[in-house]
């Protein structure tokens, strides 16, 4: 289903949960609504579902305004955070619920439920009650139940929040495959960036009720449009006095400009190890932490502190070791603007041609 949202707002009393959010979603896409808890993601989802009435704005499905359409008529499947399975019904009855409401003939219901139970790998559990299932199985039942009436849009509210970390990644992959196979437009809410990056075709970052940025995970990582997005996605350190860093002196031209530097933008080496010596600056290792597959290194350049990662294959550094530090790029921002600046000294001013 093609979805368009224009100027959507929702207030609860004085509290503005959602403010002027607009976006469009193409048919068949899997969208992740990502943002901190209490940022309005769930409110957007509930308004799309019709469980909450917008204070202002329009919701259009296939170009038709559906604001006044009751949730029963919208043709949307909804997977709730805690699954909200009907606990007095078996797995079969849960999945069949939406079909019984539609008054489908019994044979058709049985056929559809069986095929969904097979699709979701719940065969053999048809006659169990939700209380007798594991978290992952309940999640699958909720998914099958939502899909049963053949909705055109699937909404998932924190679908993995109640599942322990180990099964979570397995289930993520499963869900992504399942949604691709069914080919249904889907929107899911999460506060976990790894989850959003891994599962979603496109991410919408929501903070304080506003849509900060919409794009593919790679676009958002590469070109964050706001400071919030830059800080929220990936790891980073904010540097107040960014002009003090070698290669970023030009930043001083904009007063009040600060820099955001990701660990992966930084290259370090023992003195003399980095060939682009002119672009490097000397710093000191403050701490090192073993992170399983690499070292996390805390650096100090004057009063600026940065973090980066170093491969286990390279020489192990010790706290207090002097190191050469090359910062490839920084994400600069001030009150009014934000942009990405490359290290100006990386381009050798006096190339020696051999």
């Amino acid at each position: 289903m093609h979805i368009e949202v224009k100027g959507l707002s929702k207030s609860f009393g004085d509290f503005k949960a959602v403010q002027d959010v607009s976006f469009g979603i193409k048919k068949g896409h899997l969208i992740g609504l990502l943002g901190p808890s209490g940022g309005g993601k769930t409110s957007i989802l509930r308004m799309l579902a019709g469980l909450e009435a917008p204070t202002a704005g329009d919701i259009l499905f296939h170009g038709k305004r559906v604001n006044d359409l009751p949730p029963q008529e919208r043709g949307i499947g909804f997977v709730f955070q805690n699954y909200a399975l009907f606990k007095h019904m078996t797995v079969f009855e849960n999945v069949a619920f939406g079909l019984k409401v539609k008054k489908l003939p019994k044979d058709a219901i049985r056929e559809r439920v069986q095929s969904l139970i097979e699709l979701t790998g719940l065969k053999g559990f048809e006659h169990r009650y939700p209380a007798q299932l594991s978290g992952g199985q309940r999640q699958r039942v909720a998914f099958a139940r939502a899909l049963a009436p053949e909705p055109q849009l699937l909404l998932l509210d924190e679908p993995f929040a109640a599942i322990d970390a180990k099964i979570r990644s397995e289930l993520r992959t499963w869900l992504k495959e399942m949604i691709e196979r069914v080919g249904i437009t889907s929107i899911f809410v999460t506060h976990d960036q790894d989850e959003a990056i891994e599962v979603a075709d496109e991410i919408m970052i929501i903070s304080k009720g506003r849509l900060e940025q919409k794009g593919t995970p790679w676009e958002i990582y590469k070109n964050p449009e706001t400071q919030f997005v830059a800080e929220f996605i990936g790891e980073s350190t904010t540097v107040d006095n960014v002009a003090a860093l070698h290669g970023f002196e030009e930043a001083a031209a904009w007063t009040g400009t600060r820099g955001l530097i990701r660990p992966e933008y930084i290259e370090i080496g023992k003195p003399g190890e980095i060939t682009l010596a002119s672009a490097t600056m000397r710093g000191v290792v403050r701490h090192i932490h073993f992170r399983g597959s690499e070292w996390m290194v805390e650096l100090e350049i004057g009063d600026i502190r940065l973090i980066t990662y170093r491969s286990l294959e390279k020489d192990v550094l010790k706290p207090g070791d002097p190191v050469d530090i090359l910062i490839h790029r920084a994400y600069l921002f001030n009150e009014s603007d934000s942009w990405i600046m490359e290290n100006k000294l990386k381009v050798d001013p006096m190339p020696v041609i051999i």
Binding site: Q72, F80, N82, A84, F86, K87, F97, V101, R145
Partner: protein
Amino acid sequence: MRRLWIGLTYAVFALLIVVPLVKIATGSLEDGVSGLLDALLRPEALHALMMTGIIVVFVTLINTVFGVMLAIYLVRAAWLHPRIKGLLNSIVDLPYAVSPVIGGLMIVLLVGPDTALGALLEGAGIKIVYALPGMVIATLFVTFPLMVREVMPVLQEIGSQQEEAATMLGAYSWYTFWKVTWPSIRWGVIYGVVLTVARTLGEFGAVLVVSGNIMNLTQTATTLVYQDVENFNVVAANGVALVLAAFSVGLLLLMEWAKKRKEVH
């Protein structure tokens, strides 16, 4: 020392509950089984028990329907301001705090024959005070919190997500209520019904004030016991009391069973 306290506790329990019950049973059989039957088969006794029965049926039906509805609206209605909800919530408990006699008196003062409203209704042929409607209303006043208080916590505990899930699957409110909400609150409602029936059987103060206690007309089982005692007809009083006590014990057993089922679900 500890044994003394345990012994004392059991003594109080026996003195307050077991001894009166035994006394009622033996008292009613003082003149043998035939004496008990005579007491119960008096026309006024049969009529009083019938009145009690009629009141139980009306009160239970009305209290169940409106109690469940009020519980749902108090818990689920998002359109009610939380402060209004809080106010309504406290008003529900009012009958617990107000004496039933005062509850009955309020009805007499509102729609009694001496009031404008009462006179108007009486002119239209509707008698409320000193008639069955007033007795039902008075008993409703007393029993109102019972159902609401049983169903509200269950509704709060199950939350609204299952109902919302049903909505998203295309079910409208009536279907959702019967297929999703009802199975969850069922045992709470049954528990509430049992409490309501028990309370209605035993209601005395409010009914006495409203009914006027007219023999063969507005007399209920409890007010008949009161009158029999006043007339020193102790055997008859014990007989009717025994019937009421037997019903109560039966209800208590039913209540225990319902409570267990409620905890399971």
